[in-house]
């Protein structure tokens, strides 16, 4: 049996903007298992980064977590921790790597001092940190001599992102969240970072949540994928099921919309329309005005619930049975 590491239940996150309420994440359930690599895929504004931030209780004002539980390791509800407990929890239990590493690192502080800051903020951890840092640098293929005594601007974008990964892993957290970790990087560096993450997963058994808009990135490393649309998960399944046996019209649409160096380019089509305004969502299924299979039921009845249609394959679509023959 797979053991649950992080259990998100009924999570709703809202932002208040010009007295309008924007529901970025709406009543979401998601379990992350031990040693899981789950990809959260969606377009801009679907709520994927908000989801990541809420796992660390980092939602910036004017956003707030309206409802829900985020249970870590079948014990702590992260949303109930006070500021001091949270500070200890972050980095030790869950850490995060952001899209732009150059914004993560302090530009006027040398790398080794930044690493020391993390360590000294967690005095309860006192194993041989120094050796671990060296080991981590080797794992991400950075020369510690070259990197430790310099300022961030003296490193390339890919090197900075690798330093950010080392920082995130320094206290050996069981869960790592990566928010578009390679989006700002060149394709050669990206491949290297993805290989590094695969290696880390294999050797350290770290669970990962990988947030991205790019299906080909998750194709490289994820084991399961959640497809998000307008604050909701619309499909959740193993990587093979998502790529070779997807059931939701949005997932199918995304797969047919991505130009690639392989496969048929003649059949590529974009999904018509654009994502809905999160402050005035359509009635029924949120994808209904862009869906090629839309019927009255999709506009009139309740939102479709995420339901298990095959073992470990969940879909939120009223018409999944008909449209999949």
């Amino acid at each position: 049996m797979k053991e649950i590491l992080l259990d998100i239940k009924g999570l709703t996150v809202e932002y208040l903007s010009n007295s309008k309420i924007i529901k970025a994440v709406d009543n979401m359930d998601l379990a992350v298992y031990k040693e899981d690599v789950i990809g959260i895929v969606g377009e801009s504004g679907c709520g994927k980064s908000t989801l990541a931030m809420s796992i660390l209780n980092l939602i910036p004002s004017p956003g707030y977590i309206r409802d829900g539980l985020i249970i870590f390791d079948r014990g702590i509800n992260i949303l109930n921790l006070n500021e001091e407990e949270l500070n200890r929890f972050r980095w030790e239990k869950i850490s995060m790597v952001f899209q732009a590493a150059q914004n993560t690192l302090n530009p006027v502080v040398k790398i080794n001092e930044q690493l020391n800051d993390i360590i000294s903020a967690h005095p309860n951890i006192n194993t041989s940190i120094r050796e671990r840092v060296i080991e981590l640098f080797k794992l991400v293929k950075l020369d510690p001599e070259r990197v430790l005594n310099v300022y961030p601007h003296q490193l390339s974008g890919g090197m900075k992102q690798r330093v950010a990964i080392v920082m995130a892993l320094i206290l050996e957290p069981p869960l790592l969240i990566l928010d578009e970790p390679t989006t700002a990087l060149d394709v050669l560096t990206q491949k290297q970072i993805l290989e590094t993450l695969k290696e880390l997963h294999k050797t350290k058994n770290i669970s990962m949540i990988l947030i991205t808009h790019d299906l080909s990135i998750v194709a490289e490393i994820a084991e399961r994928i959640a497809i998000m649309y307008a604050g909701k998960i619309v499909e959740l399944a193993s990587i093979d099921e998502i790529f070779y046996n997807s059931k939701h019209p949005y997932t199918k649409g995304l797969l047919k919309a991505a130009p690639s160096i392989v496969g048929d380019i003649e059949s590529l089509v974009s999904i018509p329309g654009s994502p809905p305004d999160l402050s005035s969502l359509p009635k029924g299924c949120r994808f209904n005005d862009r869906c090629p299979f839309v019927k009255d039921i999709c506009k009139e009845t309740e939102q479709p619930l995420l339901t298990e249609v095959l073992p470990d394959h969940l879909v939120a679509c009223h018409r999944w049975r008909e449209i999949n023959g």
Binding site: G158, S216, L254, A258, L268
Partner: protein
């Protein structure tokens, strides 16, 4: 054949000077070096390269947003530097640019009407207000923003990213251009909408005979947009490989092209996990102040030979449609 060359780029160079520190000595960075190629009427020429390869600098030079350090650009056979005022105005009207970021490219306090009307009036496309309005309606219809009345009085913040890029495209086609330099035109557009924007640009090419100089970092996008056309791969200011898009992607000859293509993830888990990165000696682009004196790729290339460190290879035709700048592929060099 010569008569359908729209733009000729002849031995183009652009250097930037920079200092490593405030008191350090000045160094020259060759962002574009000795580039020569032609752009034909109505063709798509895609340029693929990583950040820092000089592709954006090159695009800016083609529309005269930057002046080259050395070398010349000919538009319709005329040297840009020797054009009369009238000829230069024609060039300015017929060569347009679409930038990467549709948020930054539009003035946030101008409505769609104001943005488009100023281009229409400045280029003498229409003058009377009912003619201007007619032209704007026509442009919005062409770029798929219908009915035009729904968009004409909107400000950029009231439009989605995809709609904004369509306004940017409408503005670019307003003066009836013959060449559009598109710099990462879909990189900031959501995946589900990208093909729509690319198809719009391709439709304009067919209907209005517009040529594209299409700059991208994404081989997948280049493959779609420049199908049945040409692609050039750029590395540190040089084009290292030129050829038909399909052939270059199917059978890359230059080691750098091979490396790039081997690193591109593909949306197919079984396939992408079996692809191996070409083992480069170094993953990082060399410091621009410290470029190898022989072949610029020699310090990273897994195949480099003695000669590669000593001499810089020229871009040489190796096949009917293929040019490569690598000693491995130049006959009689091995």
């Amino acid at each position: 054949m010569d008569n359908n060359i729209l733009m000729r780029i002849d031995n183009l160079n652009k250097d930037f000077s920079s200092r490593e520190s405030i008191l350090g000595k000045e160094i020259q960075i060759h962002a574009v070096s000795n580039l020569s190629f032609d752009i034909y009427e109505g063709e798509v020429l895609a340029i693929v390269g990583e950040s820092g390869c000089g592709k954006t600098t090159l695009g800016k030079i083609l529309v005269e947003l930057l002046e080259p350090t050395r070398g010349d650009i000919y538009y319709r056979g005329k040297k840009l530097r020797e054009m009369s005022k009238k000829e230069f105005r024609t060039y300015r009207r017929e060569v347009q640019i679409v930038h990467q970021d549709p948020y930054a490219a539009l003035n946030p306090v101008k409505t769609v009407y104001q943005t488009l009307s100023s281009v229409i009036i400045a280029n003498g496309i229409a003058r009377r207000s009912n003619e201007v309005r007619e032209k704007i309606d026509e442009l919005l219809t062409i770029v798929g923003l219908t009915p035009p009345g729904e968009f004409i009085n909107k400000y950029p913040h009231q439009l989605s990213g995809g709609q904004r890029q369509r306004i940017v495209i409408a503005r670019a086609i307003a003066p009836n251009p013959k060449l559009i330099v598109a710099d990462e035109a879909v990189s900031m557009i959501d995946v589900s909408l990208r093909i729509g924007i690319l198809n719009l640009l391709l439709k304009l090419k067919e209907e209005l005979n517009i040529a594209y100089f299409f700059i991208t970092h994404d081989f997948g996008v280049a493959r779609f947009f420049a199908k049945n056309n040409r692609v050039g791969v750029m590395y540190l200011g040089k084009i290292v490989e030129f050829g038909s898009t399909e052939e270059v992607i199917r059978d890359p000859l230059h080691p750098y092209t091979k490396a790039l293509l081997s690193a591109v993830p593909v949306p197919d888990p079984n396939l992408t996990r079996s692809r191996k990165l070409l083992p480069l000696k170094s993953l990082d682009i060399p410091n621009p102040a410290n470029i190898p004196s022989g072949c610029k790729f020699s310090d990273r290339c897994p195949y480099s030979m003695d000669r590669c460190y000593r001499e810089r290879p020229e871009l040489i035709q190796v096949d009917k449609n293929r040019l490569v700048s690598c000693f491995l592929h130049i006959k009689g060099c091995l």
